[in-house]
Amino acid sequence: MSLLEMKQVQAYYGGIHALKGIDLAVEEGEIVSLIGSNGAGKSTTLKAICGQVKTKGTISFAGKEIQAQPPHATALSGIAHVPEGRRIFPKLTVKENLEMGAFSVRDKKVIRERIERAFAHFPRLKERYHQQGGTMSGGEQQMLAIARAMMMKPRILLLDEPSMGLAPVMVDQIFEIIEELNREGTTILLVEQNAYQALQIASRGYVIQTGEIIMQDSARALLHSELVKEAYLA
């Protein structure tokens, strides 16, 4: 049984038939990349998993159907989502942002430990601890968004375009961290326009086009496929 499984998932988003029957599965411990061009339905796929858009079809997580759940319940069941554009809370401090990530955790000691762990991954956040999130650079905000999502100790981390708008050095750093989080046991579903880097760290990949999965294979095979090369790696 896959950790996360989408079967024939359809979604309408702003009057557009954004997903036309998505079949996708993520196994425990994997990094799976979902690549495709702008407007292909990548973000909508993640939003569908989180319950942020209305869907048809079934989405199951750890053996439980979650498609009818409200977003906060889905988060509680262990799915963390780093949304497109980072969406940190700009007027909350770094500390408060992290605490919100651990909203479901009652034990203050556990929260403290997880903040320490976030500092280990992202030393910059320690320097910025009492600063408002909105005053940080794009790269720092992306780090905060990932750290915030990790505060709930999710079983799966959904990442929506984490490299968007970042300097190349920062992009490399973010991808390194994603691999590191995966080595520590977090399953990852990564949505990216930056197909080359996304496939390099992934074990498997899906290619989405106008709301449909048009290809799926091991990441290595996708990297060498003519179609992917032409359309997304050029």
Partner: protein, 328 residues
């Protein structure tokens, strides 16, 4: 002229502070709900009015039960405020559930009209109940701390006269400060308070943090309305007589205070309330003097609304608000 303005200044400051404290706490209710839902809860003035009636009714009940003669006044005062806060808090939650939640995805104007509808319903409902029970919708309540206190402000400087302050004025200022401090602590130091700010900044993302957004909205309405209700009790104690329409003008002025401070900004609302209260009291005391009797204190209301218009024209984001760029 200047000397007589100066001589009444301590009195004006204290009374203005009390009035401003009332505006400030009511303004919090507007600003909190706006912060979260971008909805101007025009029924909030009526929640304040309901609080005044609930407090007055509670005192009548206590009196009938003989509780007033046996318990110390401050305990009674505390209980009345508490009961009124709980009932108005629940009323706020009910209003959200019935009048706003079904319209959450509708255009903002629709919710606004719904809010005005709730205002009228509450005015008439309270009027109906009051008339049913007392035979009149204008109700004179029981005052708990009736006395006046003579403040020797003339000893500070010979330009000042002594001030005469109702005991209740001190209570208003004290309770309002306590409520504002409590809210400030709640919003900045507690998990649910921070969650409230998170929801205000980005509702969608907050739900990804496993924050139940509806719960936060309900909590916001409860707290905002309870603050309004508590102020209603203070108001009823100060003026003795209440009617179902006291929430209208007062609500508008408190709303002005919220706009002045930057709507959505909690500390801004506190500042805005105090500023408008002080200005209004100053105008009420000195307008006749300054204009040589051409305009009397009945023109004091002009100031709050003149401020509203000026703020909306020149600094629509308010004194403490940040200009919001419309996202395309």
């Amino acid at each position: 002229m200047l000397s007589s303005i100066l001589s009444s200044l301590p009195q004006v400051l204290i009374d203005g502070l009390a009035l401003g404290a009332i505006y400030a706490v009511v303004a919090l209710g507007y600003t909190m709900v706006y912060g979260i839902l971008e909805l101007i809860n025009f029924a909030h003035g009526e929640v304040f009015m309901t609080g005044a009636f609930v407090g007055t009714a509670t005192l009548f009940i206590f009196d009938d039960a003989g509780f007033l003669s046996s318990a110390p006044g401050w305990i009674v005062y505390f209980l009345v405020i508490l009961i009124s806060m709980i009932i108005t808090g629940l009323l706020g939650v009910l209003i959200e559930r019935i009048a706003y939640r079904p319209l959450r995805r509708a255009p903002k104007l629709i919710s606004l009209i719904s809010a005005i509808g709730v205002s009228f319903v509450l005015q008439d409902l309270i009027r109906f109940i009051a008339e049913l029970i007392t035979g009149n919708y204008i109700v004179s309540g029981i005052s708990l701390f009736r006395g006046t206190f003579e403040l020797g402000t003339s000893s500070l400087s010979s330009t000042f006269n002594d001030s005469f302050v109702k005991n209740n004025t001190f209570i208003i200022i004290g309770v309002a400060i306590l409520l504002m401090l409590a809210l400030d602590l709640f919003v900045n130091r507690t998990k649910w308070g921070v969650a409230m700010r998170a929801v205000a900044q980005d509702r969608e993302t907050a739900s990804l943090m496993s924050i139940n957004v509806n719960k936060v909205i309900v909590l916001t309405f409860f707290i905002g309305s309870a603050l309004g209700g508590a102020t209603g009790v203070l108001f009823a104690q100060q003026y003795g007589t209440i009617d179902p329409y006291i929430g209208y003008i007062l609500g508008l002025k408190a709303f002005t205070a919220a706009v002045l401070g930057g709507i959505g900004n909690i500390r801004g609302a506190m500042f805005g309330g105090l500023a408008i209260g002080l200005l209004e009291m100053f105008a009420s005391a000195n307008l006749g003097l300054i204009t040589h009797g051409n305009f009397g204190s009945e023109y004091k209301d002009v100031f709050a609304f003149a401020i509203l218009i000026l703020v909306l024209i020149f600094k629509p984001e308010g004194l403490f608000g940040r200009a919001v760029k419309e996202k395309v």
